[in-house]
């Protein structure tokens, strides 16, 4: 083992001077590893079995690790033959450079992935939330701060008021109609009374006719008794009798007619009263139905108002959410600065060119900042006061 280590160390030294053209560090380690494997394998070539193979691999790995460790631990004086590397004298150029070459591209990819994922996700979120907010706007929800509402009466409350305004006259009209029919019944009853009066008058006339008839008979008897002198009177008495008989017939006819009319009117009054009763029932029912509908509309109005208020609050929350997504823009800018600086370092690692002084590098980095936060982080001055957001300055 010691033999292997010292051999690799020597070859490392040789490799460092011989393969110094860019990426010298990587090549010397590889070469050292190959040599280690070769030397480790020699004694095992006789009997190659599972155990031997494992031992071979183990030795090879240890050799590679040892080689790179030795390479890093080598004093700085031997490393600066080509005048490379950092002023802090932290260690050998090649292992660090190889590491940077290997790992910087990976870091860059990961950083890009972070930037890409957050951008994509936030863009989708922003689009979705904006769309939801637009739908709320289209549905008529106004943004409101709280759900406890003394909001202005909305459309549904107005509808309720309109319903009440338009239905009440209908009910009033129906009531008037009912009253009108009542008036008609009253009029009919009056007519019936008048007919009754006429009836009495007709029978009165009949009696008068009967009386007149008797009178005529008496007059005829007296005329007969008067003999010759009463002949003229007898003629008149006969005429009167005819007249009274005609009167009796006429009054009989009147009586019959009046009876018919009275019957007609009675029938009419009865059916009018029946109709009036069912009208009242119908009107009452209509009134109840209208009241029921109005109470439903009222419930709807209340529910709708609550929904509008809550919808308004939700819409306000969504729009706040959207505003808070502005963080992604800042994050992207911060990542972009990191990305640029890593690219710069990678460029140096790949080309093996000399690095500028630390101060210069840092100043360059600082010049790329676009936010006060970045500047505060740079000077480790994180508590330098709150960031003034949204401030407007007019020129």
């Amino acid at each position: 083992m010691n033999q292997v280590i010292s051999t690799t160390r020597a070859s490392l030294g040789a490799g460092a001077t011989r393969w110094r053209v860019g990426g010298g560090e990587g090549l010397s380690v590889r070469m050292a590893a190959v040599l280690a494997v070769v030397f480790a394998a020699l004694p095992l070539l006789d009997k190659a079995g599972g155990l031997q193979i494992t031992a071979l691999l183990g030795v090879a790995v240890i050799a590679v690790l040892a080689a790179s460790r030795w390479g890093q631990a080598r004093p700085a004086g031997q490393a600066d033959a080509a005048g490379e590397h950092s002023q802090d004298g932290r260690g050998h150029a090649e292992p660090v450079q190889a590491l940077l070459q290997a790992v910087l591209p990976l870091w860059l990819q990961h950083v890009q992935a972070v930037k890409g994922q957050t951008e994509e996700a936030v863009n989708q979120l922003a689009t979705s939330f904006a769309s939801i907010s637009n739908q709320f706007e289209a549905a008529g929800f106004k943004v409101s701060a709280t759900s406890a509402g003394d909001d202005a009466p909305d459309a549904t409350t107005g509808l309720l008021a309109r319903c009440e305004r338009e239905l009440q006259p209908v009910i009033a009209a129906m009531n008037r109609l009912q009253q009108g029919k009542g008036a008609m019944s009253a009029a009919l009853r009056e007519l019936a009374e008048v007919a009754g009066d006429l009836q009495q008058m007709a029978s009165g006339t009949g009696q008068i006719a009967a009386q007149t008839n008797l009178l005529a008979i008496n007059a005829a008897i007296e005329a007969a008794r008067a003999g010759e002198a009463g002949r003229g009177f007898a003629v008149i008495a006969r005429e009167i009798r005819n007249l009274s008989q005609d009167s009796a017939k006429t009054s009989e006819q009147i009586t019959r007619r009046i009876a018919q009319v009275t019957q007609l009117m009675t029938n009419t009054v009865e059916s009018a009263e029946t109709a009036a009763a069912s009208d009242r029932e119908a009107i009452d029912m209509s009134g109840r139905v209208v009241q029921q509908v109005l109470s439903y509309v009222h419930e709807l109005a209340v529910g709708s108002q609550q929904m509008h208020q809550q919808g308004g609050v939700i819409r306000g929350d969504i729009e706040n959410l959207l505003l808070n997504l502005q963080f992604q823009d800042r994050v992207s800018q911060m990542i972009a600065v990191i990305d640029t600086d890593m690219q710069r370092l990678r460029g140096h690692a790949d080309s093996g060119s000399a690095l500028p002084p630390v101060n210069e590098w840092l100043a360059d980095l600082q010049s790329q900042y676009s936010m006060d936060e970045q500047r505060q982080s740079h000077t480790a001055n994180a508590s330098a006061g709150a960031r003034p957001a949204g401030g407007v300055e007019f020129f």
């Binding site: 951008e119 922003a126 907010s133 502005q326 992604q328 003034p388 949204g390 401030g391 407007v392």
Partner: protein, 123 residues
Amino acid sequence: MAKTILVVDDSSSLRTVVKMALTRAGYDVLEAGDGRQALAELDKAAKVNLIVSDLNMPNMDGITFVTEVKKHARHKFTPVIMLTTEGQDAKKEQGRAAGARAWILKPFNPPQLLDAVSKLIQP
């Protein structure tokens, strides 16, 4: 007829937020992802009444863009509001010198943006 505002920013989500705030207030909104796209929009559009622009953008940054706008045939007098994370006075001075009329720090809140817009927008 509604007034038109051009919003220039490389962050799509930020354009969405600004567009929402402006359309709520009744403006029509055009979008562009950088200075070059924005200039193309200015060429195409009939009339743009105001421009809201970011500072740090690829292809053409905000200061250069404002300078170019001031040379545009039809839109050289269109007012420009810068909307940016940058708060340094030196940068603000650059913006003012290039012709910007106002400077708003991100993150913005809609009332302030709308106030600035209503004060500066071309009638």
